[in-house]
């Protein structure tokens, strides 16, 4: 057996790239004379050479004195009679990697001024000699390094002289002798030495290449094709050792091309293929190293294309597939390696692709080997593979070693050999190979954003697991993938997966998965043969009856047997209810739920509908249907209980509707409740039963708007039922009637009353009644009260009412408010109560009164001069009229009960007793009431005077009276020294004299001089001064009297009084001419009415009384 095991491992190993080929080729340097075990100095030197980052690509090797170098083959000066036995020798690579150094360095401890200089020199020389002898015939260079204690002294004559001596005695040229002071700076010296060594190495390998090249002209194409390949390969490799990658690549490529020229027959197919694989490996690796990934890929593609169909022995065709698979795997590895080195890969070109292909060929290999090898039951004797482990050439058959293809094979040995290999192949666990390849591929596809391809690979992996009878693993892989496939609804594929998954679940007696998958399989979208569906349906029923389900008759007998054995214990003990989560699954049972209303009042029953559709081809009967409803605090389950008319048996395509009703929980008022899930249980709990749990959430179709047009054949249009999984619990809807009676708009300042009347239209009496006025955000301009006066009432204000109200009776109360601002007010009224029933739930009714508030009227003022002209300035001591105008703004007529004015000093009234003359009058919208007061200001003031407080007491008809007070504002008040009064009769009579007096008052403490004159007028004759100058003493009055004799009737201009300041006037306060003119304008009438002459002589009337009129507006 062990023999077979050995062969088996070699057989498998032969597919791999040999280690020698894999390792990075390093120049080989032999060290002699270093005792790294006992000599500390030597040890430290050795380590500084080896343990360094970025050391030169050199492999240092200690060469013991007894070291045997490989013997040199005799130089052949003609290849005429030489027929190569193979392409690549197995040992050649190793020779250059491990055995033949490019240079040998002999270390020797010797200082220049060593006391025993001569003796040591001789010993050193002998060492060199023996080394030379050992390497007789090799052009490997020998160097000597003297390990010294002292640092070298520059220009040291002794050193120079002794160095020469040493060289001559060792027969070395001076370039071959070095010193290495091991004190400090050791590192520096080693680095310098190393670079020197590496140069020698490169030279050496360069020469080797030259030598190999020299053979070329001896070769001829027909008998030495192998050698062409071999030599090019060697040159490639030597160049690698030399670290000349470009040349290396060049030679490998040549080698590869030469190889392709070799005629391939069954007998050499393996060898050529093997070597081709090696060279291709080298080329690709180099191309990646030279960062030419595209070339690498195309090289590989070409490589495969060339050898894909070179099958070799039909009996061993699996070898070919194994090789192909290996080629892909290896390339995948190289590629992946390069990516790790920083090469960017893309979605459509990454290592995974090659691993996947490798897996494919691994499968072909498996199939081939099953066909060819399954019948081989015994390993042939004697071992035809004898010597397999020590073949001279790569890729040759042990039973025909080193034979050139020309020679005819010995059929019997060949047959045995083949049989032996077939036997070995049969021992191999292909599935594990395939699965691991899939594994690497999957990992890669994951990286390169290919979820779906990855999924597909996982499925293939699952298939392989299934083939290797690992049903459990297959099931896990399949079920994991299912969820992803479900999302994209590729039912053809899903069906395919389900079929396998169900089978696996069956074979592993996994009751949970089996049932869940079965319900899915029975769905209409799953494309399985009706027979299969029926079997699965029946199996479901069997399971519910605790009977072992039937296996798929397509399955081999033994497999079914083992499955049945697995099932037996499942029904042994009592099974707890099997819970199946159907939320992610499109099964043969579909469920939709909806609350019948978006919100339910606390005293109503919450009711919801459950729709269930079965798309199962066969009838299904359920035990119970229930829904789980989540509220904020708890989640509770409600079952469909009244099944009077509806049975729980569903036939194919049947849709049924169920109602569920339940009392809401008062804690949920103003909260949302949600249908969490729907549970359908099937089977008898006593026997075996399953509970299918469906999600209460809607599975939204792509476009409900389009689904809307779908025409359903059934009375219930299941597809267009909109799932409503959320509803809210709201307070009970109040059935009382609330009325507000009032007369809007409210007037600013008035006490406004609103009658609130409540009629109980509930079916029973109510108690704990409460009527509240709730505050608005900013209601500071409104005062509320329950009585017609206003204190400091805080909101919410509770209106005084009875707390109970019997059925269909009415109560009323009043709300009073006073607004101080004209705007639209919202008044919120909240009525809470309990119905006086066995279930006294709180009821709330919220009402809003929208109340516009307007100004009752506006007050404006005008000011008049003595001449009834509007003025914009007062003069101290001169009377003026204050005219208040009240314009009604309210739609309701307003009765003015009383008005009064309080003058503010220095303004005072001219009249002794003031009384309102508009009191008692009523004005409606846009009407104006006005009255006039005579006032005078004592003092001047250069800012606008506040005239007085005007107070209006008013009410709307049959309203409560309200006092509105406004401050009247006037103008500046000037002062001039002179005041002027005129006394005229109201009218004159033609040819009847009238007297006019002009009073000049000097209000100042200075003398006033004035020129006074009277202009002539054709309307009058008059007597009195026509022209004079007058001096008015301080605080005294001068009176000028004129007798006028009217000549014309009608309104005639009086003769004009002219006052002017004399030019030469020196005294007197500043009194300007313009002031004088204005004074005359505002105090002296221009006209007088002269009546025609009368019979007799009528008495003259007094001066005009003050006016009292209500001005009606025009229009």
């Amino acid at each position: 057996m062990s023999l077979i095991q050995a062969n088996l491992s070699i057989y498998q190993n032969n597919l791999n790239i040999p280690q020698d080929l894999k390792v990075q080729p390093l120049a080989l340097v032999g060290y002699s004379g270093l005792d790294i075990v006992n000599n500390a100095v030597h040890k430290s030197i050795w380590e500084t050479f080896n343990n360094r980052t970025e050391k030169a690509p050199i492999l240092y090797k200690i060469i013991s004195n007894t070291h045997k170098f490989p013997v040199i083959k005799p130089k052949r000066n003609s290849y005429d009679w030489y027929i190569p036995k193979g392409i690549l020798k197995r040992n050649w690579l190793n020779k250059y990697l491990q055995e033949v150094p490019a240079i040998v360095v002999i270390f020797y401890d010797l200082d220049w001024k060593d006391s025993l200089w001569n003796e040591k020199m001789i010993e050193c020389a002998s060492k060199v000699q023996s080394m030379r002898a050992a390497m007789e015939g090799r052009d490997t260079r020998i160097l000597v390094v003297l390990i010294q204690n002292q640092l070298p002294i520059p220009e040291d004559p002794l050193a120079a002289e002794r160095a020469i001596a040493l060289c001559s005695s060792c027969e070395l040229n001076s370039q071959s002798l070095y010193v290495l002071p091991h004190g400090q700076h050791l590192l520096g010296y080693t680095i310098r030495l190393e670079t020197a060594f590496f140069d020698f190495c490169q030279n050496y390998y360069h020469n080797r290449v030259k030598i190999v090249k020299m053979h070329k002209e001896h070769l001829n194409k027909n008998s030495h094709q192998y050698l062409y390949v071999r030599h090019q390969f060697k040159m490639g490799f030597l160049n690698e050792l030399k670290q000349d990658l470009h040349s290396a690549h060049k030679h490998y490529t040549l080698a590869y091309n030469n190889l392709l020229e070799i005629r391939i027959v069954d007998t050499n197919a393996l060898e050529v293929r093997t070597v081709a694989g090696f060279i291709n490996y080298k080329i690709c690796k180099l191309l990646f190293a030279l960062s030419l990934p595209r070339d690498a890929i195309s090289q590989f593609k070409g490589h495969i294309d060339k050898f894909k169909n070179r099958l070799g022995f039909q009996e061993l065709v699996f070898e070919h597939y194994a090789w192909l698979s290996k080629q892909y795997e290896i390339f995948g590895d190289i590629f992946d390696e390069a990516v790790k080195q920083g090469l960017p890969a893309v979605q459509i070109q990454h290592p995974g692709i090659y691993y996947q292909q490798a897996a494919q060929y691994a499968i072909s290999r498996k199939d081939a080997s099953h066909n060819l090898c399954s019948k081989i039951i015994a390993y042939p004797h004697p071992d035809p593979l004898e010597g397999l482990e020590r073949m001279e050439f790569f890729g040759q058959r042990p039973w025909r070693p080193g034979k050139v293809s020309a020679e005819p094979p010995d059929p019997s040995t060949e047959a045995n050999g083949i049989e032996a290999i077939q036997y070995l192949e049969n021992q191999i666990n292909h599935s594990s190979i395939i699965i691991s390849l899939y594994g690497s591929a999957i990992a890669q596809y994951k990286i390169y954003k290919c979820p779906r391809i990855r999924r597909h690979l996982v499925l293939q992996m699952a298939d392989e697991c299934y083939n290797s009878k690992d049903f459990g693993k297959a099931l896990t892989l399949l079920t994991h993938m299912l969820s992803d496939y479900r999302e994209e609804k590729w039912y053809c594929i899903i069906s395919n997966i389900l079929e396998k998954a169900v089978r696996c679940a069956y074979l592993t007696a996994n009751i949970q998965d089996y049932m869940q998958l079965s319900f899915e399989v029975l769905g209409s979208s799953v494309e399985l043969s009706i027979e299969d569906k029926r079997r699965i349906y029946e199996n479901l029923n069997r399971i519910l009856k605790k009977q072992i389900p039937y296996g798929d008759p397509k399955l081999p007998h033994d497999v079914l047997q083992t499955a049945i054995i697995l099932w037996q214990p499942v029904f042994g003990g009592d099974i707890s209810i099997i819970n199946l989560d159907m939320s992610q699954i499109v099964s043969c049972i579909e469920v939709k739920t909806r609350f019948v209303k978006p919100s339910f009042e606390i005293d109503q029953k919450v009711s919801l509908e459950v729709f269930v559709r079965s798309t199962c081809l066969f009838p299904l009967t359920f035990a119970q249907i229930s829904v789980q409803v989540n509220t904020v605090n708890i989640s509770s389950e409600f079952a469909v209980n009244d099944l009077a008319d509806t049975s729980l048996t569903f036939h194919s395509k049947e849709v049924k509707r169920f109602f569920i009703e339940f009392e809401p929980d008062p804690n949920d008022i103003n909260n949302e409740i949600e249908i969490e899930s729907i549970k359908i249980s099937i089977g008898d709990p006593a026997e075996c039963s399953a509970t299918l749990k469906f999600s209460g959430q809607a599975t939204k179709p792509e476009h409900p708007e389009l689904q809307h047009f779908k025409r359903s054949q059934h009375e219930v249009d299941f597809d267009n039922i909109k799932v409503v999984s959320k509803a809210s619990i709201v307070p009970r809807h109040s059935k009382i009637m609330v009325k507000f009676e009032h007369a809007p708009p409210a007037l600013v300042g008035e006490c406004y009353e609103i009658y609130v009347s409540i009629i109980n239209q509930e079916l029973c009496g109510i108690k704990d009644l409460r009527v509240e006025i709730l505050p608005e955000q900013d209601c500071n301009e409104v005062e509320f009260s329950c009585v017609p006066e206003f204190g400091t009432v805080k909101l919410p204000l509770i209106l005084p009412t009875a707390t109970t109200l019997s059925r269909s009776s009415k109560l009323t109360t009043s709300l009073f408010l006073r607004a101080s601002k004209a705007e639209i007010k919202n008044i919120f009224v909240k009525i809470t109560y309990r119905v006086d029933s066995d279930k006294p739930v709180i009821s709330i009714k919220n009402e809003t009164i929208v109340l516009p508030v307007v100004q009752p009227f506006e007050v404006t003022t005008r000011f008049l001069s003595g001449m009834m002209q509007t003025i914009h300035k007062f003069y101290a001591g001169e009377n003026f009229g204050v005219m208040a105008l009240i314009r009604c703004m309210s739609p309701w007529p307003i009765c003015i009960e009383e008005t009064s004015i309080e003058f503010i000093t220095p303004v005072k009234s001219v009249e002794k007793d003031l009384q309102s003359i508009i009191a008692g009058s009523t004005i409606s919208k846009e009407e104006v009431a006005t009255e006039l007061f005579l006032a005078v200001s004592d003092k001047q003031s250069d800012h606008n005077l506040a005239i007085g407080e005007y107070k209006v007491t008013w009410k709307r008809e049959n309203g409560m009276s309200t006092i509105t007070q406004v401050t009247l504002h006037g103008y500046h008040c000037d002062w001039i020294p002179l005041n002027l009064k005129v006394i005229t009769p109201p009218y004159g009579l033609v040819r009847t004299p009238v007297t006019i007096e002009y009073h000049l008052l000097n209000q100042s403490s200075h003398l006033i001089q004035l020129d006074i004159g009277m202009e002539a007028s054709e309307a009058f004759m008059f007597s009195g001064y026509r022209q004079t100058t007058v001096s008015v003493l301080p605080f005294s009055t001068k009176i000028f009297q004129y007798n006028l004799y009217p000549l014309l009737a009608g309104t005639v201009a009086l003769p004009r009084l002219v006052l002017s300041i004399p030019e030469n006037s020196t005294e007197g306060p500043a009194l300007r001419q313009d002031q004088l003119n204005q004074l005359i304008e505002r105090t002296i009438p221009f006209y007088i009415f002269v009546m025609p002459q009368l019979k007799g002589n009528p008495k003259l009337p007094d001066i005009i009384q003050k006016t009292n009129i209500v001005l009606k507006p025009l229009n």
Partner: protein
């Protein structure tokens, strides 16, 4: 393919009409379970369209009153070209000359329509019959119109039959609706 492709608005418009009409039919089919009711509805809708369309037709073509049924047929033929962009043949006159058919070798209305199995008896194009009836009623012609052949049913062309009933007195038509 520049983004500023102006569409052939005529074409788009007819597609729009066909699609909208199609969706309307789908809606009806959903509302009324019986296909025959749908056909009736379509005819009624056609009628409503017809009684309004006639004004547009008269103003567009400025045609005078029809002399006889032959003339009417020709005018309707023009209407087909004007509104549906197809030119039907007027054939199969009854011996009495009071009945004839329009033959459409392609019916734009049904071009892209495929009737589901359970709707085979639906008269999809009834709207045309209705329109003819409605339009003629406005010019005091009382006719019947129905579909004889239908490409939707696999016939190789669509035939719409028109039968003259009577001439109405000049009066406001008893507008059905």
């Amino acid at each position: 393919m520049s983004r500023s492709t102006r569409f052939d608005t005529k074409k788009v418009n007819s597609e729009l009409v066909n699609l909208t009409y199609g969706t309307l039919v789908a809606q009806m089919v959903k509302d009324l379970d019986n296909p025959d009711d749908v056909s009736k509805q379509l005819d009624r809708i056609g009628y409503n369209i017809g009684i309004r369309l006639i004004e547009d037709f008269l103003s567009k073509t400025g045609t005078a009153r029809c002399l006889d049924l032959k003339d009417t047929a020709d005018k309707i033929q023009t209407a087909f070209r004007l509104y549906l962009g197809v030119q039907p043949n007027v054939v199969n006159w009854s011996p009495a000359g009071d009945e004839f058919s329009f033959i459409l070798d392609s019916n734009p209305l049904t071009e892209l329509v495929e009737l589901p199995e359970n709707l085979k008896q639906l008269k999809y194009s009834n709207v045309i019959c209705g329109a003819i009836r409605g339009a003629l009623e406005m010019v005091q012609l009382d006719v019947q119109s129905w579909i004889v052949q239908d490409q939707l049913k696999g016939d190789q062309n669509t035939e719409i039959r028109v039968k003259f009933i009577r001439r109405l007195e000049d009066a406001m038509p008893a507008g059905e609706d």
